[in-house]
Symmetry: C2
Subunit: 301 residues, 2 copies
């Protein structure tokens, strides 16, 4: 099967997931053509996931594909963006149409779940890697940034933390094949849900937001740095996922929950939300009054 | 140097190339925020370049960075799009800040030359690969597609073909360090120029267009397939780059010139343009009356 036959099959597998009301030209031309709703700004990010660095390459390809879309779109959620479309660049070491078909099935499920169109892509020979660029919309000036946290804001997170780190620490993820066979910890790793509705509900309310990809302390640290503020956390308030430790909840990555700050009443989000501390004027981060260094997953250094 | 220090340095090196009049939030948040001009559709594509597959990894990093941006933006040119912005996902095997700085200098030069903002990116540990998503604009309904070629259209290409293939066949590209030391053939490979102004000038005139990344015959074949037409080419009319052969001009990739079809008068493009044949109703491609199979660079199969 040559490159173009493989692309034709991917597009056939995607079906309606390759289009949408805002898509005029989907996969198959030099580029996709989409419409941007009036009054909206465009929100755009790119992520790359490398085989056996960011995911176990031997795991079921549908699990890999689903997770690749979800973790990439999570950046849109952190901005309070409405979902638009994604582009996928796939580097493959071998010609394995069955593997690519299963990967596409997983991507399609995530795209359909989120309501994003998978409107274009690229296939190249190379060590296994998946780059996903994600594109959404927010009313002009309303995107949630990292830089708006203010002293007195309360700090919140959605959901429970540390589950994906606990799954990684336990091991065995490379043996996982299909979503319906995952135990709860493995689901935390393979089946995150990009918090798009929650991010949208926070527009005009939250002063700052970020998604938790590298660990709570490190990601909150980005908000503190961008906003030039500090934070006080209450260890007992950190929501630790069942099967995880407080350490994993503080430092573990891959949960893709939202962390945000706001003053005043919390809008209804429809998911568990926990207040874990507050923003203070003095720089630095303390937990139960003790200074901590923000750290988490770093690719280098 | 950790991941975040490296990103800070990349952003500092980019300087004004990370922003632009349509950019409200550039690198440093979860996503970039940009404005889309009124009445414009969004044109988006993604490319991936793998070290020692799509470029010699040992070549000068500024050459690699410049070329990565140019070849990716070439897809916008093929659509007749106006330049907008790009996102770059960089997978790096080692922590080499000097290499990344030079790569960024090359990317900055290409971005400034084209007038695109490099508004976001991602850095990950992994085998060397560069994914670039590119985004531009075209007035609603005016993007150039592959599917509009009609019998009677003349087929044109910009520039001369085969030079990049001749440079690859000659070898030695891995030893190239800097743009000012390249001989003409090596320039054909490392210093393509995305044909953005030419694509824009062809809007409303050309019936179809594609950029020549995989070879004239293969890329023209995509137009023929999408438009359900055939083509007759005149071998003597194919513009062969100095130092290249007709075979390289027909089958060699990496030239990033435009191939387009139109009826009637050719608009002034400001670069050499050659009429190489015409579109016919009968399917298939002939050169001097002899049927040929479209082929070129395929990543698989």
């Amino acid at each position: 099967m040559n490159e173009f036959e493989l692309i034709d099959e991917i597009v056939a597998t995607l079906g309606a997931a390759a289009s949408g009301p805002l898509v005029r030209v989907g996969p198959g031309d030099d580029a996709a053509v989409t419409r941007v709703p009036p009054g909206m700004e465009l929100i755009s990010s790119i992520d790359a996931l490398v085989g056996d660095v960011h995911f176990p390459a031997a795991a079921g390809p549908a699990l890999i594909g689903y997770r690749a879309i979800m973790v990439s779109v999570s950046d849109l959620a952190a901005m309070g963006a409405e979902q638009g479309f994604v582009l996928v660049a796939l580097n493959l070491p071998t010609d394995d149409p069955a593997w690519v078909r299963e990967l596409t099935v997983g991507m399609r499920e995530a795209a359909e779940t989120l309501g994003v169109g998978l409107v274009g892509g690229n296939i190249a020979r190379g060590p296994l890697a998946i780059a996903v660029s994600v594109h959404g919309f927010a009313p002009a000036g309303q995107a949630l940034l990292r830089s708006g946290a203010r002293p007195g804001d309360r700090i919140y997170v959605t959901g429970e933390l540390g589950g994906a780190a606990a799954a990684l620490a336990r091991g065995g993820l490379a043996d996982c094949r299909a979503a319906d066979q995952l135990d709860p910890l493995a689901r935390r790793y393979f089946r995150p849900r990009a918090r798009l509705p929650e991010g949208i509900a926070l527009r005009g309310r939250a002063h700052s937001a970020i998604d938790l990809s590298d660990g709570l302390l490190q990601d909150l640290g980005h908000i503190l740095k961008a906003s030039r503020v500090g934070a006080r956390l209450d260890a007992a308030a950190i929501p630790v996922a069942e099967g995880a430790t407080l350490e994993q909840a503080l430092h573990g990555g891959d949960d893709y929950e939202l962390c945000f700050t706001l003053a005043g009443a919390l809008p209804p989000l429809g998911v568990p939300v926990y207040c874990i501390g507050e923003i203070v004027a003095e720089s630095g981060l303390t937990i139960n009054g003790k200074p901590v260094v923000t750290s988490g997953y770093q690719h280098f250094g």
